[in-house]
Amino acid sequence: MAEEEFQEDEQSVAERLAAEALIVDVDGFEGPLDVLLTLSRTQKVDLRKISVLQLAQQYLAFVEKAKQLRIELAADYLVMAAWLAFLKSRLLLPPDPAEEGPSGEELAAHLAFQLERLQAMRDVAARLMARDRLGRDFFARGIPEDVTRVKRVSYTATLLDLMQGYARIRTRDEFRPFVMDRDKVWTMEQALDRMRGLIGFAGTWTDISSYMPDGWDADPVRRRSATAATFAASLELAKEGKVELRQAETFAPIQLRRKD
């Protein structure tokens, strides 16, 4: 205690006022490291040469004062106080070779590094903010021109797509008659319908080719289909007992007559 009071006596009035301002203003601090950095300024030395021991004592005094003034300190500040008290004892006592872990000097050096780094960040932050800035010192184009976005669709295909496409058509082509050429097919049902209406008049032998649908003999494809259908229909009618068929010789015309 005596030592601490002695220290305080050493401080100038201005410094004491500053220390009190610290406490009153505790809410304005950005954490214990910030307090330590502020306290370190009273040492008026390069942060690399700072006395961490003295700083620890200043911090502990700051926490003590805050307690006296019944100022609630956040847990962070108290953790730092406890740690600094520990550090202080490490720095004051001769090192115990049996003890594990970093030495007091190592811990102090790291704390000094942290303070220096934080100070450095603050310095460069200030330099950064003091730079010429867009919208304050220099300016962008006031009337930017709209860039119209043109969306273009480009179609693509590979040679493989092309060949596969062609192959697909040609393959389908080979099956095509099953679906495609109905207009050139005369079915047996159609032939039967037609002949049933006509055979009532077939009292005498008539060539079955006369029962072909009109106009189907010009196109060879249609003629072939109609011939086949009419022939099949004739056989069907004979089977039903409705007509009789005859043929003079092989490949001779086939003739048909109503069966009474």
Binding site: G142, R149, V153, Y155, L162, M163, I169
Partner: protein
């Protein structure tokens, strides 16, 4: 218009700007100021406004003359808009003010098939394409292929109605890496390459209309390229 001598004098005057707080800055400096103000302003700026914003004694109108000259033939120009001034893109570079995004899409199946038929059977009429594909060909498909410059109109067929024909173009050859349409593999090769599979057994195929369609009559040219 300024004489050469004047311009020189102004150049020399530049260094003195700082001291002469109540004297007008040299004209070169005024020109810089007008340039910066016109650039940064959201709207065209009148000469009066320029003078109001520039240091006392400056003559924006004169600075504008210099600035305008400086931008002659450049990518942007100093132009008068009503009674105010602005910097604008040179009219011949307007085409740069659009950003083209290209979306690549696969050609539709209908388009590929139509294209393939044209390539293999050219010159070919729309009716022939429809006959081969077994479905009608939409106007859009043909237009797309014409638009892509992969097909073009060929000579008219000497058949009733004189229908137009389609042929493939040089761009088509370039795109598909072909020297000519004759380089397209024939059906045999397609089959050998496994591209033609489901071939029906011979004999299951009714021999209807083989070679007797009237459409075949006029189709000279490509048909001999292909088997079947």
């Amino acid at each position: 218009m300024m004489s050469e001598g004047m311009e020189k004098e102004e150049e020399e005057g530049k260094g003195e700007q700082e001291e002469s707080l109540f004297e007008a800055p040299p004209i070169a400096e005024q020109e810089r100021m007008v340039e910066a103000i016109l650039f940064a302003s959201a709207e065209p700026v009148t000469v009066k406004e320029l003078n109001d914003r520039m240091p006392h004694g400056a003559d924006a109108a004169e600075a504008l003359v210099h600035l305008r000259k400086r931008y002659e033939g450049r990518g942007v120009r100093v132009v008068k808009v009503g009674d105010a001034w602005a910097i604008r893109t040179a009219p011949d570079l307007g085409f740069l003010m659009q950003k083209e995004t290209v979306e690549t899409r696969k050609l539709s199946r209908a388009a590929i098939e139509t294209l393939a038929i044209i390539a293999y059977h050219q010159p070919v009429t729309r009716a022939e394409i429809e006959e081969i594909r077994g479905v009608s060909v939409s106007r859009g498909t043909v237009d797309l292929l014409l638009d892509m410059e992969w097909i073009r109109f060929g000579r008219r067929k000497m058949t009733p109605g004189r229908p137009v024909t389609f042929v493939v173009t040089q761009s088509f050859m370039d795109h598909f890496g072909l020297e000519s349409a004759r380089d397209l593999p024939g059906l045999k090769e397609l089959r050998a390459a496994g591209l033609l599979e489901s071939r029906p057994p011979p004999g299951a195929m009714p021999q209807l209309g083989e070679g007797e369609d009237d459409e075949d009559e006029a189709a000279e040219g490509q048909s001999e390229l292909f088997e079947d």
